[in-house]
Symmetry: C2
Subunit: 234 residues, 2 copies
């Protein structure tokens, strides 16, 4: 049986899910071949009798694993002789903190700005579900959340200051140092989410964050370029 | 010869330097005894013929090391059989990113709010130097920078969201997971800087960040309580 990573898909085979991106990178980091099988929002609860409510879902020769963290832990445990995702428990914990940084500072800014773009790129049959669930979460219409989003670009760029300083003041090539690691995949996955659907470029072209994202996109045979993307920088 | 960590000192033997705090924690983490010798701002360039312009300076039985990162690397290299500060290069790189997070999001907010408090707690002979160098950096008087600082407490608390989510959503005890690590020492050192001089409590009492700081202060025989501190929470 093949190795399948069930991956969220929008129109034109755009792949927006930040959680799926990190799992695709995790598989590539370990040198494991896989098929990233496209699924719409409403396809997910129909997979494997509704075993998992979200993607990614890894089907590794019949062994099912849901949730990106469980997939990462499974891969290091099942394939210990391949390059490790975590050199030890401290790296794993610091990757969780990296996720907390993104979800505590950047995601609350991005979600209102992007939800309408995600909706507009979702498959037609997924749009009613997406609108209803996200408007409940946002507490307003997708259109109201996106209104005036250009004025919030400065806040988004400021929220990325820590990542920017990582490359400038700290002089690091990747978040994990000289070589890319799971923290890079988490952060790049979030920007891949943005770039897969965002009709408004977020960053400036000479931003060191953009240069880093391009470096990550080049990794593992250009995995980061296997989905249509909008320009992340103006 | 004894092991000496030259440590910035203010009035009442308050120890504000976030860089010295992380080095004191690094020494304690490795189980190495040391004297944290107090030095005023103007004492530093007089030490060892001006070999280093900033503290911490470690004098390890006559072997001199300046700069907190150089000290951490020296300690892991010189004492490899004691508990390591970094399980490998990824943890070290992620600690640098943790520093970038603090200096990219929190420090720019805190410095204007705290500079006058630091000045007022500096030894009288250090105050003119401190005022001149920091007013140049801030581009205004210490008093102007501190004006209306109560109104910026919400921004400071929001900037700590990633650390807060690390304990709530991510369910971690420390930034480094179940056990404290150098990333915790970096972040706690910054809040020790605040607490050593800040006459305005920054956080709310039930903030998970406060509970974590108290956990870190308890470590290594209560090292974090070896300097007079103001309440960090109202």
């Amino acid at each position: 049986m093949p190795r399948i990573l069930h991956d969220l898909a929008c129109l034109d085979d755009r792949r927006p899910s930040p959680y799926c991106w990190r799992s695709k990178y995790a598989l590539a980091h370990k040198g494991l071949e896989f098929e990233a099988r496209p699924q719409g929002f409403l396809d997910i609860p129909r997979l494997y009798g509704g075993a998992h409510r979200t993607v990614p879902i890894l089907d590794d020769d019949g062994h099912l694993v849901g949730d990106s963290w469980a997939i990462a832990d499974y891969l290091d445990a099942r394939y210990p002789d391949r390059p490790r995702l975590f050199e030890g428990p401290a790296e794993r914990a610091l990757c969780r903190f990296t996720e907390a940084w993104l979800f505590g500072s950047l995601v609350p800014l991005l979600m209102p700005m992007l939800a309408l773009d995600i909706h507009d790129h979702a498959r037609p049959e997924d749009r009613a579900y997406f609108r209803e669930s996200r408007e409940k979460w946002l507490g307003r219409s997708l259109e109201a959340a996106a209104a005036g989003r250009e004025e919030r670009l400065g806040d988004v760029r400021a929220a990325l200051n820590p990542l920017r300083l990582n490359f400038t003041v700290q002089g690091q090539q990747y978040i994990t140092g000289d070589r890319p690691g799971y923290a890079d995949y988490i952060a790049a996955g979030l920007l891949q989410w943005v770039a897969s659907v965002a009709t408004l470029p977020l960053l400036e072209r000479d931003d060191p964050v953009v240069a880093w994202l391009e470096r990550v996109r080049d990794l593992h045979g250009g995995l980061g370029r296997t989905s249509p993307m909008y320009a992340i920088a103006a």
